[in-house]
Symmetry: C2
Subunit: 404 residues, 2 copies
């Protein structure tokens, strides 16, 4: 008998009919001879409605109370899901985050899980119950309700899987798994069967938002093997796990795309210590997250320094560096709002040469200009004209044989 | 500095605007130099929507899960109310039933309060917070969420008032207080300033549903003085408290009306032991609640036995006694669906003679026939033709000088 933790997201439980569908899946998993803990999110749309309601009584709702309010979303789903399973003649109980023993720190609206006491879960499982646990929430050790922030339900599932030493953790979502590229952009993209934590993390940080990075990091830290799969069909999904020896045989696991980027270039920055620091300190002071940074080779006694960031942060970034540019006596600032990021990811890059070159050649065949390049051990990213992104993705995807 | 417990019902917190209104009242109470605990219900309509949602996933939702589901209603209100108070620049925290220390038995959907541990409430009050507590809910000693059934939020308020030894408990509702009669029926009815627990209980059990009986019983048991008043104006309400010496000076405190009654008469029941028992056992077996029972004087060797009950229970009652009527060889069954109950209530009846006679005279003046009479120490009830109820209420109300 295996112990399986499943997680169903907001779309999967978005209507009473879909909750019944989820109930059938959970029951089928138990009927196949497994113990089951299912983590569920708020029904899609509910969280937004609650936030809207809060705004009607307060321009800036207290975070402590926001957590109390939002936690009702998942509490509604756990009750409905347990009822639906009971109606199918199976034993199920619902548990809020607090009841499931999820203890967090006290940082409201983005709490971190500090500890899980799975005593009550084990007791119910032992008595033959299916446990339906509210995702996204927990409580502090002094009994305040907290929520875990974006992607919190995935985190709940993975943390519970670690705590109860589950044999498998299944993240049910509205996609079939992790793809070699976004299938809406590259129709030839195919589902990846297995991917290691580090590749998954790079995919997440490069625009393929199947899961939030911190859930993957948590899984990596505690060695939780999990599968991302669809709640709308029975196709096997993508298994995310520790890197295995044969994973390096594949050069590139996937191509990740990120639109809505912007590039900022500070022109002719005097080539002396402290000038780069002055620029990026000014940006950090405004809490603007930047992505890639490139400094051109020194020509004479100045450099051009470029960086990329999310497009909607551009106005704030420009304002933040205005004063600095004058202060350090740079020549000026150029911005480009029409760029996108394309990355190739794979642990195979560590042992295969010429990977970046193959990528650049593919882009070159399409006459696509590379504006910025950035590399890490298992990832190579380029910034290109956003208008050419689809074409670029297809060329790179093809160049690494990902469509086969 | 006084400690005041307030309770706001579903209509009083029915919209974000009304929650803001309630927040202003609570803040004003604190600003007047009081410590405040406010108990709130689910926003009106929310509980019904949740029940509807449950029915969509299960024909007969599990009671344990129904409690988890319904408890979200009050949890939403406490968060919104605390936010609204915070937005007014005052310190407030929300507490679910469980967080407020309300421990109940394990009878889901109609749990009884077993114990209240007000430690956390006292702590927050000491720190200058206004405490906003979810009405209607608690948890079992082993951590399951429970709800208290109809009128549960009133009960929460009164139980908390008892536990924290409040100086006053105010039940804010959509009426100005308890009236000498339903003002929609008798426009001359006036608000009662003070009423004792026993009178309030008789009012509640006779159709004046300002509050559920069990909340009043709880208040009586623990000596909690409470005031029923409107959340939509600043008028003083009705204070409900222990009987005082001068209360007996008033003969009749109020006139209570109950429509939608039905009368059943079993004709010519043989006058021997066990026949009445047979009839009422058959009804009890179907869980039908009956109200008044009258047996006519024996004429020959048979009696007529009449009883009254809620009109919508009539078909079931008729079915329940069909077999018995044949078995005991009674002559048959007559029913009257068009009746109503009118009661006069007052502790003054104990010391004043001729009270019932004065009531019957008043009805007689209007040519209103009395079908059944029932009396208790502080109440006299009659069953009359429902079509004459308004007229009867005005005559009786006038006869006891209640309009002055």
């Amino acid at each position: 008998m295996s112990l399986i933790v499943q997680k169903y997201g907001g779309t999967s439980v978005g209507t009473p009919e879909r909750i019944l569908n989820v109930a059938h899946r959970i029951v089928a998993t138990q009927d196949a001879g497994n113990k089951v803990v299912a983590v569920v999110s708020a029904m899609s749309g509910v969280t937004d409605s609650l936030i809207k309601l809060a705004r009607q009584v307060s321009p800036q709702p207290t975070e402590r109370e926001m957590d109390v309010l939002l936690a009702t979303g998942e509490q509604t789903t756990i009750a409905l899901t347990a009822m639906a399973i009971n109606a199918l003649g199976h034993k199920a109980v619902s548990l809020t985050g607090a009841q499931a023993g999820i203890i967090t720190d006290g940082v409201h609206t983005k709490a971190k899980i500090a500890n899980i006491s799975p005593r009550r879960l084990h007791q119910y499982l032992k008595e033959g119950f299916i446990c339906i646990v509210a995702g996204f929430q927990g409580e502090t050790s002094d009994g305040r309700i907290t929520t875990l922030g974006r992607g919190g339900s995935d985190l709940t599932a993975i943390a519970i899987a670690a705590a109860v030493k589950a044999d498998l953790c299944q993240i049910f979502t509205d996609v079939d798994g992790v793809y070699t590229c976004d299938p809406r952009v590259v129709p030839a993209a195919r589902k990846i069967d297995e991917i290691c934590y580090d590749e998954m993390l790079e995919m997440a940080s490069s625009g393929s938002k199947v899961m939030q990075s911190r859930s993957v990091e948590f899984a990596k830290k505690f060695g939780v093997v999990f599968e991302v799969r669809s709640s709308f069909n029975s196709n096997p999904g993508t298994v995310v796990k520790e890197e295995t020896a044969d994973m390096e045989n594949v050069v590139v696991r996937g191509v990740s795309l990120e639109k809505n980027q912007a590039k900022v270039t500070v022109l002719q920055v005097p080539d002396r210590p402290g000038t780069a620091a002055a620029i990026f300190s000014a940006i950090a002071a405004e809490n603007i997250v930047i992505d890639m940074i490139v400094q051109s080779d020194s020509v004479g006694d100045t450099n051009d320094i470029s960086f990329t960031l999310s497009r909607d942060e551009l106005p704030r970034a420009r304002q933040a560096i205005e004063g600095v540019v004058k202060e350090i006596a740079a020549a000026g600032v150029e911005t480009n709002e029409g760029v996108a990021k394309l990355s190739i990811i794979g642990v195979g890059m560590r042992s295969h040469g010429g990977v970046a070159a193959r990528m650049f050649e593919a882009l070159s065949r399409g006459g696509i200009n590379i504006q910025v390049i950035s590399t890490s051990e298992i990832k190579t990213s380029v910034i290109i004209d956003e208008a050419r992104l689809v074409e670029a993705a297809k060329l790179v995807h093809e160049a690494f044989g990902l469509s086969e």
